[in-house]
């Protein structure tokens, strides 16, 4: 687990220092078509790709490139809104929903397990089957008595 965390942190740091066009295309929005740059072939998307390539070549970090694009096009250019102000809701609500769903699932699972664990007392008179209708049982007893006689 610790090794996995180290690998992930290392990959994130490398991505921040040496971003690629492909990953930035997935993290940025084309202003005219409201899709990610990766999905857009509009003139402004092509122009933004040229800009990103030039900034990568100039040695900018991912944050620096994004900051420059935000300065030009506003925060709407980011596919994921920054986690501050009202935008915090966009990050917090899914986590709150996930937590509520996990608690509800745990509650239900506990209830189902308790129901399963409760022993069902077998009724020796029915041999585990549903009890017979009393009238039918009386007639059966009479028939058996007649047969034995």
């Amino acid at each position: 687990m610790g090794v996995l965390a180290l690998v992930l942190v290392g990959a994130a740091a490398a991505s921040e220092e040496r971003p690629t066009l492909e990953e930035l295309e997935r993290e940025l929005i084309c202003p005219t078509c409201n899709t990610t740059l990766a999905m857009s072939s509009s003139p402004i998307a092509d122009r933004m790709r040229v800009f990103i390539r030039s900034r990568i070549a100039a040695g900018d970090t991912k944050s620096e490139i994004k900051a420059k694009l935000v300065d030009e096009f506003g925060e709407e250019v980011l596919a994921a809104p920054p986690a501050r102000g009202f935008n915090v809701l966009a990050w917090a609500l899914p986590m709150v929903f996930a937590a509520v769903a996990a608690i509800a699932l745990a509650f239900l699972a506990r209830r189902w397990r308790r129901e399963e664990d409760e022993p069902i007392e077998p009724d020796p008179s029915t041999n585990g089957r549903a009890p017979l209708d009393p009238e039918l049982e009386r007639r059966l007893d009479e028939e058996l008595a007649r047969f034995e006689a």
Partner: protein, 186 residues
């Protein structure tokens, strides 16, 4: 206890669905309102021009539509990457030079564009009328702009007049729109 939890869960789910429906309704109503602006203009009405305040492309302050009250305003939405915008730029510049002494302002709103590219466009086409830069394109939604270029005419009274011009504006359309904007005083 279990019944109460179930009831609360159902109430929460219904609330979330109601909230989403309300958001959808609000969005549809907002879009219908923008459409009606163009529709009302086409029907011969003269709706109030949506206000805005946008920074100048040259970085020297900003311009609001309210500050131009009393003048006839040609509002032209454009971007440097837009091919038809190159075609109409000389016509807008000519109209600005011809009419500015009569109280006409040609205002270019450069939207969804790099500032540097827009400045290059302005220099290349010798544009001298004021240009504002709306990078995020916040003004586009207010006017229901669907593509570049697009031109609107605002009368001296602050109301939209004439026709919305989608695509490169012709000299004739400019003259007609400007004359109507100059006449609209009350």
């Amino acid at each position: 206890m279990a019944g109460r939890v179930k009831l609360l869960s159902q109430a929460a789910a219904v609330s979330v669905v109601a909230l989403l429906l309300a958001l959808l309704g609000w969005q549809v109503a907002a879009e219908a309102n923008v459409r009606s602006l163009a529709d009302r203009l086409e029907a011969g009405e003269s709706p109030e021009a949506p206000g805005f305040e946008v920074p100048l492309l040259n970085g020297e302050g900003s311009i609001s539509l309210a500050s131009l009250r009393g003048k006839a305003v040609v509002v032209n939405f454009w971007a440097s990457w837009c091919e038809p915008c190159k075609e109409e730029a000389p016509r807008l510049e000519a109209a600005w030079k011809r009419y500015r002494d009569r109280g006409v302002v040609v205002l270019g709103i450069d939207a969804q564009d790099f500032r540097g590219d827009a400045r290059g466009f302005v220099a290349r086409y010798g544009i001298t009328y004021p240009i504002v830069h709306d990078g995020p394109g916040a003004t586009l939604g207010r006017y229901g702009v669907t593509g570049f270029p697009e031109t609107w005419f605002v009368g001296r009274n602050g109301r939209l007049v004439g026709a919305r011009i989608q695509g490169p504006v012709s000299e004739e359309e400019l003259v007609q729109g400007i004359e109507r904007a100059l006449e609209a005083t009350s």
